[in-house]
Symmetry: C3
């Protein structure tokens, strides 16, 4: 299917420089695009490439529209944020190519009689929906998912195949939960009694806002007594672990393999690189950015970028540096000794100079 450039700017805004009747059939990167494609330029370093792209149209900023010059003969859509414009255009193309399932409940699904399923929702094969659960309008629950007793799935939310969404948890509208994610599993809470661990029942919930995306095989623990809270617009990648009673602020994004221990309170608009780890009970301010592979072992009260991972080296070089790191305290002792000796030498020489 195709989209006319005129229709594109009508729906998504931006200023069209070119023929509104030009049709584009898909989106492609600058170097792959041909005359059936629209492309985009957001990185100024790629201007030269943009001026030679074969694309029928290009989404770009006013500044870049001027800079790429007349070599590029196709249409231009000038937008304030070309990358976000590209994302929205791509969503439109994707929705045209999608195969949304017909509303209804697959006959192999097991839906408790007390559950409320909106007539426009889809419940796929082998799904289990327990008592008193609610699935709202246009929600899609793909094959093999589990929705526990009293859980609530908001309008337009999509569970890919094999999501587990436990009792009494809630997710808002337009959410996406990917395969293998487990929402509302028990938090890791035990009291120690003479060496053995006594389980503390986890009776809180997971409360998830609107427009939240949760990656494949990511786990979010239910709260112990109070709830675990994921605010609007949060984006979690795959293989993430969120402990019980965490609170994650709106629009925070975490890349794959991140771990957040229990009761951490994370601000809004934060980003976490892959495999970053946050200890329990910490507070992280808004607009904090944690680099990949970094361990956050104390609260961070000031916005900014924070990092902590051991730099990679050839193994032989690492062996040397690691051996020194192990003994840094003795190196510092030596340094202090040297400082003293040098101070004495200086004193002694000064005295000698005075003598003369």
């Amino acid at each position: 299917m195709s989209i006319r450039l005129g229709a594109l700017v009508e729906r998504l805004g931006g200023q069209l420089m070119g023929d509104p009747n030009t049709e584009v059939f898909g989106i492609a990167p600058l170097d792959d695009a041909n005359a059936s494609h629209i492309t985009f330029l957001s990185n100024p370093k790629l201007r030269a490439q943009a001026s030679h792209t074969q694309a029928a149209a290009i989404i770009l900023s006013a500044e870049n529209a001027e800079a790429i010059g007349a070599d590029y003969r196709g249409a231009r859509i000038v937008a304030d944020n070309p990358y976000a414009y590209f994302a929205r255009a791509a969503q439109w193309f994707a929705s045209e190519n999608a195969h949304p399932p017909a509303a209804g409940i697959d006959p192999t699904a097991h839906v408790d009689a007390s559950a409320t399923i909106a007539p426009t929702a889809f419940i796929g094969p082998h799904v289990t929906i327990e008592a008193d659960a609610c699935v709202a309008e246009h929600a899609v629950i793909d094959a093999g998912c589990f929705v526990g007793r009293g859980a609530k799935v908001g309008a337009g939310t999509h569970f890919f195949a094999c999501v587990t969404f436990h009792a009494r948890c809630e997710i808002g509208q337009r959410g996406i939960v990917h395969s293998g994610a487990v929402i509302g599993t028990d938090g890791f809470g035990f009291a120690n009694d003479g060496g053995a661990w006594i389980k503390i029942p986890q009776t809180g919930r997971v409360m998830i806002g609107d427009d939240v995306e949760i990656g494949a095989n990511t786990c979010i623990d239910r709260g112990a007594l109070a709830d675990t809270v994921i605010e609007n617009g949060v984006k979690l990648d795959n293989q993430i672990q969120i402990g019980h009673n965490c609170h994650i602020g709106a629009h925070t994004a975490m890349a794959g393999c991140v771990g957040v221990a229990g009761s951490a309170k994370i601000g809004k608009y934060c980003t976490f690189g892959g495999a970053a780890m946050v200890l329990g009970h910490l507070s992280i301010a808004d607009n904090v950015h944690i680099s990949s592979g970094s361990m956050v072992s104390r609260s961070i009260l000031e916005a900014g970028q924070y990092t902590g991972f051991y730099p990679l080296a050839k193994n032989a070089d690492w062996e040397k540096s690691a051996a020194i790191v192990r003994n840094l305290a003795s190196m510092r002792e030596k340094m202090r000794g040297l400082e003293k000796t040098v101070q004495l030498l200086t004193q002694s020489l000064t005295d000698k100079n005075k003598e003369q």
Copy 2:
């Protein structure tokens, strides 16, 4: 539902100071509790808070019972280990509020005719149970679980939805396995033949003791020839990876995202912070505690706390410290050069002093 304080001490012990007919309807933290709740005090720093809690009753130590004084007017239950007492009381409340499924096999489950399912067990929707498997009395196998050929599930053990428990593996009594956990998947064993990897069949089992809890999306590999062993009372959080032929001692607990490579032998009563990693074939003594984010690259034969992660810093500061870490060997060389120079200077000055 409510529990009388008299009934509580009758079942769980402790010394009641107050009216045994007082009814409590749930457990709440010190600051959230109202007159319908029982609360607990285990951290002495919260004594002031405890003395002003609205709770009808409080579980605490003899020492704290005295320390919080007469400001608190409710009932007191004096216990040796208030936190463990709280856990057991919370278990009681939780069991009263639970919705245990009725015994029996859901009609959508696929149970091989040769499997043995105890009459008091529950087999949920869309479960698959293969030939010769055994599910013991009061076990609960929730929706979508898989129990492989000849596997054994002990009495009272609970598999949450979507657990995969492979052929010939065994778990004891009162276990809990959370959603998405995979028990008995193949270990990662290959022989290299001219660059290509030849698979070594993994024919051992996973043998799990009693009172073990296994978190969501955690994997435990089956042994290559011998078995992987998880002793009684072990608690594993979510997203953990246990390699083939590991042996984990009783009552050891691991937080989320921990990885243990193959054939590691870990003692009893150990704890592992989140994302700690253990290399293969190592031995870890009893009562070893590994901090979060630490890589265990050698055996640990002595009990104690061990740590190894790069300290977090503002990114600009980390850039500096990491650059120096990378070149620590050259810094040490400079230091050694300085030491020599200073020694020579000292000698020279001593000689000069002698001359005079």
Copy 3:
């Protein structure tokens, strides 16, 4: 069941020294083997053990066959690569003991009418296969798996229970995918628009070659526009995360909990230790080996072993070294100050010596 030594060398090669009619019933390690077993010796350090093993036969190199001498009375199979020979022999034993499911589609499976299922394939209970998907000859799709619209599963490939294999993804022949793996989930791609994240649709595929093994709960993201590619013979352990548009070269192996961010290009014959992490858009040459727990933050263009993790220490010692690492820049400043002072002292002393 048993295998005659003569049949073994006929199928797998090697030179038999001993009676071809000797029957062995299984494989065991040197110290566990008895007269019904065949064993193997690949580590020269175990020669002494080998010379006293009770095994009926031993697979070993010509060099070791000579070195263990006449104390060992059983048969010997001399092979160029005894460990690979052992792996192949073990595969034979395992295949004899396996319970391959009968071909056919379980009546509880949900298979779209437009899907193509080879008559020799097995489709297990509660499986979902969507429109236009293809499952080739002798493929095994165990219970609870999901195969999305238009996906292709190659001949002889085995999905263990609860694998999720999304739309249009493809895997070649003789592959193995373990439980809970999610192939073809959306990559983590968003454009930021004033703080909020706009989803970039992920319309590429995951293209997997022949003889690939993918571990339990491992995730591989589909490409954004182009495809994510896993070449022939790649072996991925459990709990791994592969980002969108990654390209992993043939015969590369990754241990558990590894993470690879988007668009990384990894060469052939590489190995990654557990929990190693690779940042996005990097290139890694062929034959690069990354140690466990190491963060790869820059491209690696030269083969070799690379490492970067903080060395473990007793917590008290770590506290000291970490505090120094945090302040290495000030230590370097002090060092530079000392160098200058020492230089001045040396100069001053030289001047003094000249004076005299």
